[in-house]
């Protein structure tokens, strides 16, 4: 790799600093990694210091500054993968490739790395190898994969051999199974592409806004903010250009429903974005796609090309006066980028640190222009609301939660996959659908949500009771909740914190250490009291959702599974952690 190689890539993006993510991704794609010695060159071209380039490179865990192997294997270290036997798969990969975890083999042929949830919780153990997905891994499959890699077999050929498919064009379906287990009336249903766009372009933007507002559509990313209101903020901003951003960075461990929408119903999303653009007066749409879903990029790109051919994208779409384009922006591995302002920072080529608000994205978002960020599922509801009307949409769900919701159900159940349910379904009903026996706990909305016990299983899935962006991890009675699940979630938040706010950066680790102390039988009631008060502080004093909810795995298990803690804590105010015998063991040995 020479300076001119790098310059060629820089030129492709017009030395634009806001495209730094693409520049770095391209460099890594072409050369395997991003050597530090080029930071200066990259910086000079885009007008940044090398320190600033380093900031971006070192923030994202899929960027490497040293060779990462000809075949780079990423294994999910999330809880569901672990439950499904990830450790055995890791051991096998490690033995066969000669790599320890998070290292590269001496001949630089293999790299073996840990990564948080890759959105395949319904078919774990799974791995990402050179952007391709290998699911339902077994020891035998691993042996075959590594054997093929040792023969330098191209990655696509490996997929085809392992999953016995000869259809190259259908590779994404070969790699990943959809697992649509329940279709519904709104999303997982027939849709004629462009139909809602054509209908919308015959109306005023004000009418569409009114329809969306009236539908009571709320953000499907978890927060549940009314979509119509969010759009309205942006319509009020007079600045141009405006941007519609689709948040396709579903990083909450246990979530994979956007994967299914993107694979099977991308037309719903594209049409939703076009309609949003028309309503808000935005001419640019950007899909921020998580790096883990890179394998979908070419597929989505080809669909977008089709849209352009049919004049559903581009200038004067379907013979109207409205112009709209959509581009795909890849991420590079960071959970916090699912937060809308962190996502915007990332799109601008910076470290994904949530912004301070005000100003809000509606007035000052991407490149400081008015921006609306919506979740994949939210935008995918829009064409259906336009085609069937807001009253139809409201006929599903509950009073405060209109419509249907996609759930990603995974973990200890016989029937994991994506389910489209009406809001208002109880956890008990959901468990029956998912074919579970002996359920100990359900993790509603992933690590940042709630870990609930049997006593709560009659509660409803909706914004007014148990809100979720989609993740539903079922934990069977055979699991040790406090040993296996809670520390895994805390480690996730420790790794994924951007590090900016002091409480989030520092306190999560200390809370985890207190749990370890309790698990070692040294816990006191004071430890629980401390954890609760730190949780309260985190909730109140951190800037973004990650920091506010990082101690939820502890707080909700303390609340819903008090008996698990009581069993470990002997109700003492103080237990000395200092062991005199242990501390003087060396001395005893010498003086004996």
């Amino acid at each position: 790799m020479t300076n001119s190689d790098i310059q060629e890539i820089l030129g492709k993006y017009n030395n634009d600093r806001f495209r730094l993510m693409d520049i770095l991704l391209d460099i890594q794609d072409k050369y395997g990694y991003i050597p530090k010695k080029f930071f200066n060159l990259i910086g000079q071209a885009v007008g940044l210091s090398s320190a600033k380039v380093e900031e971006t490179v070192t923030f994202y865990h899929f960027f490497h500054t040293s060779p990462k192997g000809k075949y780079t294997i990423y294994l999910n270290d999330g809880i569901v993968a672990t439950m499904k036997g990830r450790d055995n798969i890791l051991k096998q990969f490690s033995e066969q490739t000669g790599c320890q975890i998070n290292s590269v083999s001496k001949d630089e042929k293999f790299g073996l790395f840990s990564t948080p949830c890759i959105g395949m919780s319904d078919q774990e153990p799974a791995a990402i190898i050179n952007k391709h997905i290998f699911t339902n891994l077994t020891v035998e499959k691993v042996n075959r994969i590594v054997r093929l890699m040792k023969k330098d077999t191209p990655i696509q050929k490996i997929i085809q051999t392992i999953y016995e498919s000869d259809k190259v064009q259908n590779l994404i379906h070969t790699m990943v199974t959809d697992n649509i287990k329940k279709t519904g009336s709104v999303l997982l249903n027939k849709y004629k592409r462009g139909s809602a766009v054509k209908k919308s372009l015959n109306k005023n933007p004000e009418e569409i806004l009114e329809e969306i507002k009236n539908s009571n559509l709320r953000g499907r990313g978890g927060a549940g903010f009314p979509t119509g209101t969010k759009w309205e903020f942006c319509t009020k901003s007079k600045q141009k250009p405006k941007f519609i951003v689709c948040n396709a960075d579903e990083g909450e461990p246990g979530t994979f429903k956007d994967r299914v929408l993107l694979t099977n119903y991308p037309e719903l999303l594209f049409d939703g974005m076009i309609i949003a653009g028309y309503t808000l007066g935005a001419e640019h749409g950007i899909i921020y796609l998580r790096y883990e879903y890179s394998y979908l990029k070419n597929f989505l790109q080809s669909k977008l090309e089709q849209y352009k051919k049919e004049n559903l994208l581009g200038k004067k779409i379907v013979n109207s006066d409205f112009n709209f384009d959509i581009r795909i922006q890849l991420g590079a591995g960071s959970y916090v980028c699912g937060e809308e302002t962190a996502l915007i920072e990332s799109m601008e080529g910076k470290r994904g640190e949530p912004r301070n608000r005000p100003p809000f994205p509606a007035s000052c978002g991407y490149v400081n222009k008015p921006t609306t960020v919506n979740n994949v599922e939210t935008l995918s509801c829009v064409p259906k609301i336009i085609n069937h009307g807001s009253e139809w949409f409201k006929s599903f769900g509950t009073e405060e939660s209109a419509g249907t919701k996609l759930l990603s159900i995974c973990g200890d159940c016989g029937n994991s996959g994506v389910f489209e349910i009406e809001f208002g379904m109880t956890i008990n009903e959901m468990l029956e659908m998912a074919d579970t026996i002996e359920t100990q706990a359900v993790v509603v909305a992933g690590p940042s949500g709630k870990i609930i016990s049997e006593n709560e299983f009659n509660r409803k899935i909706c914004f007014e009771d148990l809100a979720t962006a989609g993740a539903m991890i079922i934990i069977g009675k055979q699991r040790n909740l406090l040993e296996e699940v809670v520390p895994n979630f805390l480690d996730f938040f420790i790794d994924e914190s951007c590090g900016s706010c002091t409480p989030c950066r520092v306190i999560t680790t200390h809370a985890k250490n207190r749990l370890k102390k309790i698990l070692a039988g040294k816990g006191t009631t004071k430890d629980l009291k401390d954890i609760k008060s730190w949780g309260n502080l985190m909730q109140k004093s951190n800037r973004c959702g990650l920091g506010k909810t990082a101690l939820n795995p502890l707080l909700t298990t303390i609340k819903f599974f008090p008996e698990l803690y009581e069993r470990l804590i002997k109700d003492k105010e103080y237990i000395s952690e200092f062991n005199l015998e242990k501390a003087t063991a060396d001395y005893e040995k010498i003086t004996k």
Partner: protein, 238 residues
Amino acid sequence: MSKKVKFTIDGNEISAEEGKNLLDVACENGYYIPALCHMKGHKPAGSCRLCNVKVNGRIMTACTTLVSEGMEVITEDEELAELRKTILEAMFVDGNHFCPACEKSGVCDLQALAYKHKIMSPKFKYEFSNKKVEAEVPKIMLEKNRCILCKKCIRAIKSKDGKNIFGFKARGKKLEITMDEELAAQMTDEDIQRAMDICPVGTIIKKEKGFKIPIGKRKYDKKPIGDNVEKHKEKEKD
């Protein structure tokens, strides 16, 4: 001229220009709100989280809040005091803050705030941070184990053509401050002095030069932090 708004701080009516930064307005009116990452005139970082106050009952960082008509601000109560103390303690264990051995003792904002909040020993265990001291550049060094990641140097110290000399590396627990060695080597003595003065702790150190004022006779050795702000408040009351 911007519109004036009326609101209250700790029950007292204040008038200020709408949209001004609450932390600055509070300070101008004699209310000291502790903060380690705020610099007047710069975009707020909102990262140390010490300046948390209650705005209409809700805890918010003063540095990122703009004043508006009718808002009720509480700058001090038991909950806020405990919150600030805990955050300060978290900073103390996150890095290595051995005041007696630190060049910055007496002019260190973190140390001064610890005294002000009567921290005896932190409620968290010390982590004994072990980051590499960056000392390759001839005239300036970074003792990263003292850094509280306030971003002041990143935001305020730039090269002649406006580029960042300082930057962050990594994220989460591994987050650390770094500098662009090439740009740092071009810094003038005055630049380095300014960077060192801006640093609220003892991370940025100017090499080859001793401190003029001995420990014991420095800024916070004489008066507690925030005293100049609060004095102003007393004057106003007279």
